[in-house]
């Protein structure tokens, strides 16, 4: 019976220890990986270039949609009034 208890204690000490060691290593390697990633692949620099044309396209399409909408609405108003 004491054997069982010591087995449980062992499991707790080693298990908890291992979880911490593993996650510590994960923290370190993740931090290193993030540094490398931001150093060699500076993503934010690319973004604004891409963002502009899409934004322009969007506003353009929005503008045409607006025109259409206005046309439809005037037609509807005319019909209703006449």
């Amino acid at each position: 019976m004491d054997n069982l208890l010591s087995e449980g204690l062992n499991l707790m000490v080693f298990g908890m220890g291992f979880v911490f060691v593993f996650l510590t290593l994960l923290v370190i390697s993740t931090a290193v990986m993030s540094k490398l990633a931001t150093k060699y692949a500076p993503a934010p620099a690319v973004k604004p270039v891409k963002a502009r044309p899409t934004a322009a396209a969007q506003s353009a399409s929005a503008a045409t949609k607006n025109d259409e909408l206005i046309a439809v609405m005037t037609a509807a108003v005319h019909k209703y009034r006449s």
Binding site: M1, D2, L4, L5, E7, G8, L9, N10, L11, M12, F14, G15, M16, F18, V19, F20, F22, L23, T24, L25, L26, V27, S29, T30, A31, M33, S34, A37, T38, A41, A43, P44
Partner: protein
């Protein structure tokens, strides 16, 4: 008149045992909790319904061919089974006991005899064999969870991984508790049983089922029911512990906005985690391997169809069969036991200790960083139970300070908890499996 008598003798009312009736009531209670109270309905509806199916008298849905053969107890079949199993008497109880202790090859031989005699596996038993005994369903679900997980908050603040580690203390403390109960002679748990019970504290359904199916299949029903019901009770169990361990000032701490995480980092992380698992803990490879695979599918951006299937259609299909299979373990002879009470009790202790150690770890980290950087409330999210635990942290933060949104900060420890409990599961399987 004979026919009428035969019909009566085959009816459920004539055959039902008190245990089966009680288990059906328990199944109905689970359905009530799921439907009316919204307790993890995606799992408790199939589990509760499976539990009712498993206890229908004479149908034997949750039993193997051999168990069905023993139940119907035709003398010639029983004696043939007794011969294969190497017991002298053809008494059904002795034969059943020998069948449960038998080695795999003897098992197969006994199954062949039962199949020849025209008995077959119950439907739920077949689901159990395919979904859980093979280990497939929990792992496929873990892949889906990986595909649903966004590691962004964790990558923005990797230190929160420590909170996910600290909260696993609940698992190991409970193992010690279960072993202690056995030593005191109150319960009778082996070290494998204790390990499987402790994993409830990981607050992670698929992990708990996977570990239980490997270490203590006879306790699987109780462990799964405990794990999922306590996960549903997270908003009730955690807040009192969190309030007791933190001061109002600590709860008011506002955390810095998280930095932007690039796509490359998100793609690299699952690969990095997989390499670490491969190097350090191959026993956690099934769980974390599938998890990383699912996450890589999500983040790499070129297999959106696969990622979509993994996190929607596939996980739903597998959840149905997993729930029904767990329900099959709710048959009266397997569930109605003092051990089940012990498991339910130890499970809630595991949750409580996990929450407390997560919060305490967050307090410690906050002290080390000058006392105004980390809100200790996010520590409790380290028990996993994604995303419920993170929402609880957020809610308590808002209570202390209506402008304090902790949700994204708590998601870091929350997903770290998933990794932490999978690692703890790997350690358990390695040491006692």
């Amino acid at each position: 008149m004979d026919k009428l008598l035969e019909l009566w003798l085959a009816s459920g009312i004539y055959n039902i045992s008190a245990g089966q009736a009680l288990m059906m009531v328990i199944g109905l209670v689970l359905l009530y909790l799921a439907i009316r109270k919204n307790f993890e309905p995606l799992l408790l509806v199939p589990i509760g319904f499976g539990g009712i199916l498993a206890n229908i008298p004479e149908a034997g849905l949750a039993f193997s061919a051999v168990e069905n053969a023993i139940h119907f107890a035709k003398p010639e079949v029983l004696s043939a089974l007794a011969g294969v199993l190497g017991v002298d008497s053809a008494d059904p109880y002795t034969v059943l006991h020998a069948y449960k202790e038998a080695s795999h090859s003897v098992h197969t031989a006994a199954t062949d005899i039962a199949l020849d005699a025209g008995y077959s596996n119950g439907m739920l038993y077949n689901f159990y064999l395919v979904a859980i005994a093979s280990g497939a369903a929990p792992l496929v679900i873990f892949m889906g969870v990986g595909a649903m997980t966004d590691f962004g908050p964790l990558l923005a603040n990797p230190k929160t991984l420590f909170l996910g580690a600290a909260a696993q203390f609940g698992i190991f403390a409970t193992v010690l508790g279960a072993v202690g109960l056995s030593v005191l002679g109150i319960m009778d748990f082996s070290i494998q049983d204790a390990a499987a019970i402790g994993i409830i504290g990981g607050a992670d359904g698929p992990t708990a089922i996977y570990v239980a199916s490997l270490l203590a299949p006879q306790l699987l029903g109780a462990i799964a029911v405990a794990a999922y019901s306590y996960m549903a009770l997270v908003p009730l169990i955690q807040p009192p512990i969190m309030r007791a361990l933190t001061t109002v000032e600590e709860r008011k701490i506002k955390m810095h906005q998280l930095r932007h995480v690039s796509k490359l980092e998100k793609i690299a992380f699952p690969v990095l985690l997989l390499i670490l698992v491969a190097l350090l803990l191959p026993d956690a490879a099934p769980l974390l391997g599938m998890f990383c695979f699912g996450n890589l599918m999500r983040e790499c951006g070129v297999v959106d169809r696969l990622s979509d299937t993994a996190q929607n259609a596939l996980i739903n299909i597998v959840t149905i069969f997993l729930g029904l299979s767990v329900g099959s373990k709710l048959s009266a002879d397997k569930f109605l036991d003092v051990q089940t009470l012990g498991i339910l009790m130890l499970g809630i202790v595991a949750f409580g200790i996990g929450t407390a150690s997560g919060v305490l770890m967050a307090k410690l980290m906050n002290k080390l960083e000058g006392g105004n950087a980390i809100n200790p409330l996010i520590g409790s999210a380290g028990v996993s139970a994604v995303p419920m635990a993170a929402r609880v942290s957020n809610k308590l933060g808002l209570e202390a300070n209506p402008q304090n949104f902790l949700l994204m900060h708590a998601m870091g420890p929350n997903v770290a908890g998933v990794i932490g409990s999978a690692v703890a599961a790997g350690v358990m399987i390695k040491f006692v499996g």
